[in-house]
C-alpha cells in the first residue's frame, strides 16, 4: 500500500501516514520551514525544535558538496548543534534534516543552510620563493652569485659578485637596466594575466634594507617585457609595483615606468604596495609602509599612463640594482628580502 502524503500547513513539515493509519507526530523548527533555503554564517549552529508529541527526534547534517556527515551534538534533543565551516572561496551548503518518529510514523523538516563564500575576506598572500623552480633568473652581467630561501621566515638572501658602479645597474637612472632579475608569468586562478586585463596586485614585502651590505635599489613589480635591457618611460621594462632601497637608510616606495618614489623612515618594516594596471597601459601604484606593530609609517605613490610597448603576457619580476650610479658591489655583498603578493583581475565590462 502506498504511503499517503501528509503535510502540515502550519509548519510545512512533511511526513507519511503509516500503513496502519498512524498520524505522524507534530514537528516544527523555529525560523525554519520544510524545503526552505537559508544563509548562515560559519561557526556554531543550533536549532530549536518543537516536539509536542514527544516523538523520537533525529537531526542529521550533511555537507552538500561531498555528502559527508557532520557531527551533530545532542542530535536526539530539541536543541541540536553543530559547527558550520568557513565558506572558503566557493562557499558551502549543508542539508539539514530534522525527523520526528512516533508510532511508526515520521515527519520531517528538511532545509538547506548555505555559508557564503569568504570571497575577498582574509586572503592569504602568495609567498614568493625564487628558488622553487618557477622563477627564471636573467642576469646578463653575472651580478648575482647565489640566492637562498628560508622556508621558515620566507626570507631570501642574495649574495652578489663584483659589480655595480654604473647607471646601467641603477633602475632609476639612465636608459638601460642590466641588473639581475627573476621573473615568471603571472597567473590568477590558473589563467595567464594579459596586459589588457584589469589587474589589481598587492605586493607585501619585508625587505630588511638596513641589513643589506651594499646600497641597493631593488624592485618587485609587474612587467610585460622582463628580459628587456631598456628602461625608459616609453620602452623596455615599464615596471609597476614596489621598490626598496638603502643601507644604512631604510627606504620603501613605488615604481611606475622607470620613475621611482621612496620614503625614508627608520621604523618602517612591512611594505604594502597596491597597484592597478590594464588596458595595455602601465598604471599606478600606491604604498603604505608599516612599523613593527603594523602602525602607519610612510606612504607614497607613482603613476604612469604610458602605453605598454610590449603587450600580452604580464610577468612578475624581482630585480636587484643599486641606488646610486657609483655604488660598487663587492663580491660577497648581500641583500635580504621576503616577498608576498595577492593578485586578482576585475571584470572590465560596462557599468
Amino acid at each position: 500500500m502506498p504511503v499517503a502524503p501528509c503535510f502540515d500547513p502550519t509548519t510545512g513539515a512533511s511526513g507519511g501516514a503509516t500503513p496502519g493509519g498512524a498520524t505522524p507526530p507534530a514537528l516544527s523548527v523555529t525560523d525554519r520551514t520544510n524545503k526552505g533555503a537559508y544563509t548562515v554564517t560559519s561557526g556554531a549552529r543550533s536549532l530549536t525544535i518543537s516536539n509536542p508529541d514527544g516523538a523520537t527526534l533525529l537531526t542529521t547534517v550533511t555537507l552538500s558538496t561531498d555528502g559527508s556527515s557532520v557531527t551533530v551534538t545532542d542530535n536526539a534533543s530539541t536543541t541540536p548543534s553543530w559547527t558550520a565551516a568557513v565558506g572558503g572561496a566557493d562557499g558551502l551548503a549543508y542539508e539539514v534534516v530534522v525527523s520526528a518518529t512516533k508510532g511508526g510514523a515520521t515527519r520531517q523538516v528538511a532545509f538547506t543552510e548555505a555559508v557564503n563564500s569568504t570571497g575577498l575576506l582574509g586572503i592569504e598572500p602568495v609567498r614568493v620563493n625564487l628558488t622553487d623552480g618557477t622563477w627564471t633568473l636573467y642576469d646578463p652581467d653575472n651580478q648575482v652569485n647565489t640566492v637562498s630561501y628560508d622556508a621558515l621566515t620566507g626570507q631570501h638572501t642574495v649574495t652578489m659578485n663584483n659589480g655595480g658602479n654604473s647607471a646601467d645597474y641603477n633602475p632609476g637612472s639612465g636608459a638601460d637596466f642590466r641588473g639581475a632579475r627573476w621573473y615568471k608569468l603571472l597567473t590568477v586562478a590558473g589563467t595567464q594575466v594579459d596586459s589588457a586585463d584589469w589587474l589589481n596586485i598587492e605586493f607585501i614585502n619585508n625587505v630588511r634594507e638596513t641589513a643589506s651590505t651594499f646600497v641597493q635599489r631593488n624592485f618587485f613589480a609587474t612587467t610585460t617585457d622582463p628580459t628587456s635591457l631598456r628602461n625608459t618611460a616609453t620602452e623596455g621594462l615599464q615596471l609597476l609595483g614596489s621598490c626598496w632601497s638603502g643601507t644604512p637608510t631604510n627606504e620603501q616606495g613605488t615604481v611606475a615606468g622607470n620613475n621611482f618614489a621612496i620614503q625614508n623612515n627608520a621604523l618602517q618594516v612591512t611594505q604594502r604596495v597596491s597597484s592597478m594596471r590594464g588596458n595595455d597601459r602601465i598604471g599606478m601604484a600606491a604604498m603604505m609602509s608599516m612599523k613593527t606593530n603594523n602602525t602607519f609609517a610612510a606612504a607614497n605613490q607613482r603613476f604612469d599612463d604610458e602605453a605598454c610597448v610590449t603587450t600580452g603576457n604580464v610577468y612578475l619580476v624581482v630585480g636587484i640594482g643599486i641606488k646610486t650610479n657609483t655604488t660598487i658591489i663587492t663580491a660577497g655583498n648581500q641583500c635580504f628580502f621576503g616577498l608576498r603578493y595577492i593578485a586578482h583581475t576585475v571584470d572590465s565590462g560596462a557599468f
Binding site: G172, S173, N258, N259, F260, Q263, N264, N300
Partner: protein, 79 residues
C-alpha cells in the same frame, strides 16, 4: 598679480627618480612641494614670462611663487 597655492598635505621628504620638465633624468632625495596654479590664472602667469629674456619674469612676479614654495619648505622643516 596672479596667485599660486601649495598643496601642503603632500609636502614630504621623498627619494625620486623621475624626469625634469626638459626630460632630464632626476635621481635625488628631495622635499617635494606641489605648486598649484589656479587654472583661471594660468594664462596670466604665462603672459608674465618670456623664456627668451634673461630678466623674465620680473622679480616681483617671481617672488609670489618663491615665497609660496619657501614658506612651505620652512614649515616642513619646522622653522
Amino acid at each position: 598679480m596672479p596667485a599660486v597655492h601649495i598643496d601642503y598635505s603632500t609636502v614630504s621628504d621623498v627619494g625620486l627618480s623621475t624626469e625634469d620638465t626638459d626630460g632630464t633624468r632626476i635621481d635625488l632625495d628631495a622635499v617635494q612641494v606641489s605648486v598649484l596654479i589656479p587654472r583661471a590664472e594660468v594664462q596670466d602667469w604665462l603672459d608674465l614670462y618670456d623664456p627668451s629674456s634673461g630678466s623674465s619674469p620680473l622679480a616681483a612676479d617671481s617672488r609670489v611663487i618663491a615665497r609660496a614654495v619657501l614658506d612651505a619648505l620652512r614649515k616642513h622643516e619646522g622653522l
